[in-house]
Amino acid sequence: MSTVIEVTSLSKTFGTKQALNNVTFTINKGSTVALVGPNGAGKTTLFSIICGYLKPTNGSISVLGHNPGDANLFGKISALPQDAQLDPKFSVAKQLSFFAQLQGMSRKAAEADTQRVLELVDLAHVANSKTGELSHGMRKRVCIAQALLGSPQIVLLDEATAGLDPKNAKAIRNLIASLQGDMTFILSSHDLSELERLCDTVLYLEQGQLSSHQSDLYQSEQGSFVTLQMLNLDTPMKDKIAELSGVKNIKQTQSDELVIEYAKQDEPFDLSLLTLIHENSWTYKQLVNGRTLENQLFVD
């Protein structure tokens, strides 16, 4: 799998504040990467450096073999920058069409592509509206649409679903899922369940440092952990589960949630667990193969 982004010993300082400190990682073509971390961890700074908005203080970064901001990257990398807005004085279609023309399309092709991306975010009906007339959520979706103009190889979305209603947030998640494989996505969000569903790699930033870089998130965890959410979880339940064959460790991570570590054996563990639940007439809410992203990052 070829590398599309290579970051080496990257640091960024704003005055006396170190926003990024010696960050190193690579991103492979076609992967969907989650950029996670608390507020002020340096996520947006890292996004901005990859996009070429900010210059790193130290270190190097290569995007498709070029420096960020290089003219060779125009049309190949696109982004939804956090809090960036289109010009409120012009219509959505005019601005998106202009962007597409800047990417090298003819006027006609640009107008057709504008229509295509607006349909992707279900906003074709506001093409002739000025962006100043749109709601916050609509403006966000228009900004996502501009990131899909042409056929970018890398798409960076900073807080893409923040501020969207659940229906539209789901639609955006579905859209990203449908485009996965053709494009490399880098997503930043505080919604870990969203990232868990979409991403195969996690970059966890904390105080400007990359504290974990996990690839193939789901596959590496599969088979050794299950996460079980139960209705009316109590200690006897927990004890009975702990007695199941193969259970190595059991941890209660929330009032209704258990993370069970087990050793692989002939009889599938999830079947044993479901049989136990059925025999005791318990009610389970959710059974997850592996650990949730939240548990991996914040519960040890």
């Binding site: 900010l54 003219a71 125009f74 990398i77 010009d87 202009f98 962007f99 800047l102």
Partner: protein, 269 residues
Amino acid sequence: MNFQRTWLFGQFELTRLFATKRGWLAIAAFFLVWLMVLRYPIYNAVPFISSYEFSDIVGQVAGTVGLSALISWPEAELAMFWLIGLFTFPMFTVFVTADQTVEDRNRGTLRFLTMRSTRLEILLGRFAGQVMILASLIALVTVATLAMMLYRDASLIASALPKSIAIWGKLLLTCLPFIALMSLLNLVTNSARMSIVFSILFFTIVASVISYLGAQYPMLDWLNYLIPGHQVTELTGWRNTPVFAYLLPACQTLVLLGTGHILLKGRDL
């Protein structure tokens, strides 16, 4: 640098003026102001300048301030327009071109653009757009003045046409460094309004200090060449205009845009 993208930026700036309601209102206001200038100061001054009774005194006064060549023009409307335009268009330019990149930077719109074009293309494209806007507006007033003059005496058309084109070109050339100055100020201020305030401070305090220093210390006299519009008095009289009066605004424009490019290239967006 890609000229196609730069040209697209210039075109987009034109639509900001000619394809928006706000732009048409601005054009209407501009045209009405000039209509007043044409109707009253210029229209009323022409018989006075051209009259036989006052020709001696007007000639003497004009000669004193180096305008004798202008006063001898039979196209008196164009002469008046030239004098008024030469001193008002630069000031007008500062206001019209006050927002080139600054509001886009504040709004984050520049971030969408830098994913698709270089910063130099944005800077030059926006500058070119403002030049085209100014060229259109100056042309509009020049044509209006020409029309008013032809209404008085249509036989002057042969001599008036080349003069009108020359006036248009010289006014535009004079305005170029003012546009470039606003391009630069957009990069060091946080709003179009602050860019205007900084330009006013520049043309009052900084220009006065430079002028004073140049007068006190002749070795510093060259600093005056940094001030856009320094050559205006050389252009006014329309006779024996030195080459430097044409070169200076072009050089000032290049220096200001070059400085702007260095600033924009290195700054965080």
